[in-house]
């Protein structure tokens, strides 16, 4: 079952990295076993023009999520650091789509 550019669902309910085959989670929580790192947003590159502190008193961070096997980046967000990640998904399982 295709999930996104990096993930595919196995028939047993696991989710795997399509680049290296490492298990990253389950259909109910595809990034459960992924590696997460939080860092300064300016690590995202020169597109982050100014320090967030110029505009807000809340901490802002870059949260990157990686495959535990090949370290391909599975998810990246620049968000307030005092919030949990809201970006999740849960899939019921493969459809009858041809070729899935």
């Amino acid at each position: 079952m295709h999930i996104d550019d990096n993930l595919e669902g196995g028939g047993d309910g696991t989710v795997m990295c399509r680049h290296c085959g490492a298990v990253t989670g389950t259909l109910g929580d595809p990034l459960r076993d992924a590696r997460v790192r939080e860092s300064d947003p300016r690590e995202a590159g020169p597109s982050v023009h100014a320090d967030a502190g110029n505009f807000t008193d809340r901490p802002v961070l870059l949260r990157q999520t990686f495959c535990p096997g090949c370290l391909v980046m599975l998810q990246a967000e620049i968000v307030p650091g005092d919030e949990p990640s809201w970006r999740t998904r849960s899939l019921a399982g493969p459809t009858a789509e041809a070729g899935q």
Binding site: M1, R35, W86
Partner: protein, 665 residues
């Protein structure tokens, strides 16, 4: 001062109601045309297609009429308007390809009008109703003024047409009705519930005077009113001809079937997609000038069978500022991305599409606010943020299907970079205008292609940017540049489309300078998220340069090409700001691109090299984000790139730091 609740405001807190309810209430005062389901089912396929496409072209003709009669650059050159055809109870049969946000709540305004105005003052032939109350519908904030008109055929109310356009100023503390210091709606343009401004084919002078008296540019607004009247008249002329040729019952049957077909085709597509839920978040920094907060809209999109539920539970409470939106704004946030990514091959008949959607939203939240919350910026604040979070979730759903994933897109241009100028123009007249350069936003990356550079905005498929020359002709300003900006698109295996920047000075105003209002979040954090490992697009970046010698440079024949060239004292502009631009001041505004898709380290090195050559990506980003090493000839050194990427892969995951390995909690 606390925001004071207003008794009686609940009358205007409109929610969509079933067609049967509108028919029951309004039917006591006005005869409504209807056809049986059997009549709908027996329209022959050829007639159906001919009439259905004719209805689409009528909305385009309405748009053309609006543009040809308006005097506002926002309408004539930027297409910040839309038109729609609705059935006799207000369900939208066809929405135009212009600003789909604006058209997403015309049904609510028409339904409210039928339920509250059919008895008094009544709804008759030749009448038109004007509305800019977003709690009722018809638009997302007070600048969105809708004009909707019933068409009568043989004494029965056959259908409604509607035209809505952004008006550059309708009062309020700040020019442009964009009161950046607002804590509630009473700082802003006061909303007008539906009022019969055209009666029996004639403009009511008393109502028009009440409407125009609030504006700093009443003649411009009056012309736009006539443009909207003209658009509705064009639509009615075409629809009457259609009814004369095919019969009113046949045309109505096609309208019904268009909505039914849209519903059926959407349900069929939803059944092809996997069941599941996708949750995401959209942030906005700053609710008003001086505010340093960050506010979130949370969405859990659930697909089960042939239904979608948009659940906004967890969204922040409404704020004391101008960024809230009403329920109409929430719908207006969902519909644009829904139409373009999910319904690209389905008739754009929201009257049928809404039947497949449930919305869960708590009142008094930032994208479902209660009166008298400030909403002056709603369309490009909380409604736009709703579009962003809906984009992520819908794209996640589409990405799980091998065919439909081709239509998904990362978030496009995370917000509107608002810059408003006001003052005395080069002809000695007063002017107010919104600079619409940021219509050229970067589109989000797709699952199989880069985002379109300066491709536009997701919510306005036919949006345009006014030519530099048109802005300079119309307003006292002179551009130093308008150009695409490298690195503004989110990095990814597929890159987000880049945004751009404009840099200009006040020029040729008898006063020397102009007044400036800025409202542009996305500075504390980027608002155009990436997907599937793609990075967000760049942050918003606006700068004021004071006391420059730019005029001396121009007089000497030198055109500055960078902020360093311009000099002067630099002020980083906060998200909300109001000030004056003096004759030696320069304003630089850099808006956002689209989010990326996929891990940037998987982008083909040759593609990165091409990005650098075409100035979409800087050499610095090519090395530090994409991990590509370029030779002196600009071509990728593949061996060195492989080594660089291996090192970067570990470094960005924190494996070369003194960090313990950790699983996601």
């Amino acid at each position: 001062m606390p925001v004071i609740p207003v008794d009686g405001a609940e009358e205007f807190a409109n929610q969509p109601v079933l067609a049967a309810e509108t028919r029951r209430v309004a039917g006591a005062s006005v005869r409504l045309h209807d056809v049986s389901p059997e009549r709908v089912d027996t329209v022959d396929p050829l007639t159906y297609e001919v009439i259905r496409h004719r209805l689409t072209s009528i909305t385009e003709e309405m748009g053309e009429a609006l543009k040809r009669m308006s005097g506002s650059v926002v309408v004539t050159d930027c297409n910040d308007f839309d038109a729609a055809i609705m059935d006799e109870v207000g369900d939208v049969v066809q929405v135009g390809l212009y600003n789909t946000e604006l058209a997403a709540s015309l049904d609510m305004a028409v339904s409210w009008t039928m339920r509250h105005r059919a008895a008094r003052p009544g709804i008759g032939e030749g009448d038109m109703f004007l509305c800019n109350d977003p709690w009722i519908g018809g638009g997302l904030h007070q600048n969105d003024v809708s004009l909707f008109a019933p068409l009568f055929v043989d004494g029965e109310l056959f259908c409604w047409t509607g035209a809505v356009a952004h008006q550059v100023d309708l009062g309020g503390v700040s020019p442009g009705s964009w009161s950046v210091a607002a804590t509630d709606v009473f700082w802003e343009s006061i909303p007008l519930p539906p009022v019969k401004i055209v009666e029996g084919g004639e403009i009511r002078d008393d109502i028009e005077d009440v409407y125009l008296r609030r504006s700093r540019v009443p003649k411009l607004v009056a012309l736009d009113l006539r443009a909207k009247i003209g658009a509705n008249n064009v639509a009615h002329e075409r629809l009457r001809a259609l009814c004369q040729k095919y019969g009113a019952d046949t045309v109505k049957a096609v309208m019904r079937r268009t909505m039914n077909d849209a519903e059926a085709r959407l349900r069929a597509k939803l059944l092809e997609l996997p069941d599941g839920s996708w949750t995401s978040v959209a942030h906005q920094d700053s609710a008003r000038s001086g505010d340093r907060g960050i506010y979130k809209i949370v969405l859990k999109l659930t697909k089960e069978g042939d239904r979608l539920t948009f659940d906004f539970t967890g969204t922040d409470p409404q704020v004391d500022g101008l960024i809230n939106c009403t329920y109409a704004g929430l719908r207006g946030g969902i519909m644009p991305v829904f139409l373009t990514t999910v319904c690209g091959d389905i008739p754009w008949a929201p009257g049928g599409l809404w039947r497949c959607i449930d919305i869960v939203s708590e009142p008094s939240t930032i994208n479902n606010c209660t009166f008298p919350a400030g909403i002056g910026k709603a369309s490009v604040a909380s409604a736009w943020a709703t579009t962003n979070v809906a984009t992520e979730c819908l794209s996640g759903l589409l990405d799980a299907h091998s065919e439909h994933r081709k239509r998904m897109m990362s978030v496009c241009c995370g917000t509107w970079d608002f810059a408003l100028l006001a003052g005395v123009d080069q002809r000695g007249g007063g002017f107010v205008t919104m600079i619409c350069d940021s219509m050229a936003g970067g589109l989000g990356a797709r699952s199989d292609a880069d985002g379109v550079d300066t491709g536009g905005l997701a919510c306005i498929p036919m949006g345009r940017v006014a030519d530099v020359e048109m802005n300079e002709f119309a307003f006292p300003m002179l551009y130093l540049w308008r150009r695409e900006e490298a690195d503004s698109g989110g990095p990814g295996r597929y890159r987000g489309g880049v945004g751009a920047s404009s840099c200009f000075i006040p020029y040729d105003s008898p006063l020397g300078g102009v007044h400036l209002v800025v409202s542009a979040p996305g500075k504390a954090l980027p608002l155009a998220a990436g997907l599937s490992g793609g990075l967000p697009a760049g942050t918003q970046y606006d700068v004021l340069l004071r006391g420059t010698r730019v005029r001396a440079a121009l007089a000497a024949g030198r055109l500055p090409g960078s902020l360093d060239d311009i000099g002067g004292a630099t002020e980083m502009v906060p998200s909300h700001h109001e000030t004056d631009l003096g004759p030696d001041d320069v304003y630089f505004t850099h808006w956002q691109g689209g989010g990326g898709y996929g891990d940037p380290l998987l982008r083909a090195p040759a593609a990165v090299a091409a990005d650098v050559a075409s100035r979409k990506v800087t050499p610095q980003a090519a090395a530090t984000v994409y991990g590509v090493t370029l030779g002196a000839d600009g071509q990728p050194d593949l061996a060195e790139t492989e080594r660089s990427r291996a090192a970067l892969r570990r470094r960005r995951a924190g494996l070369d730091e003194a960090e313990p390995e950790s699983a996601r909690s």
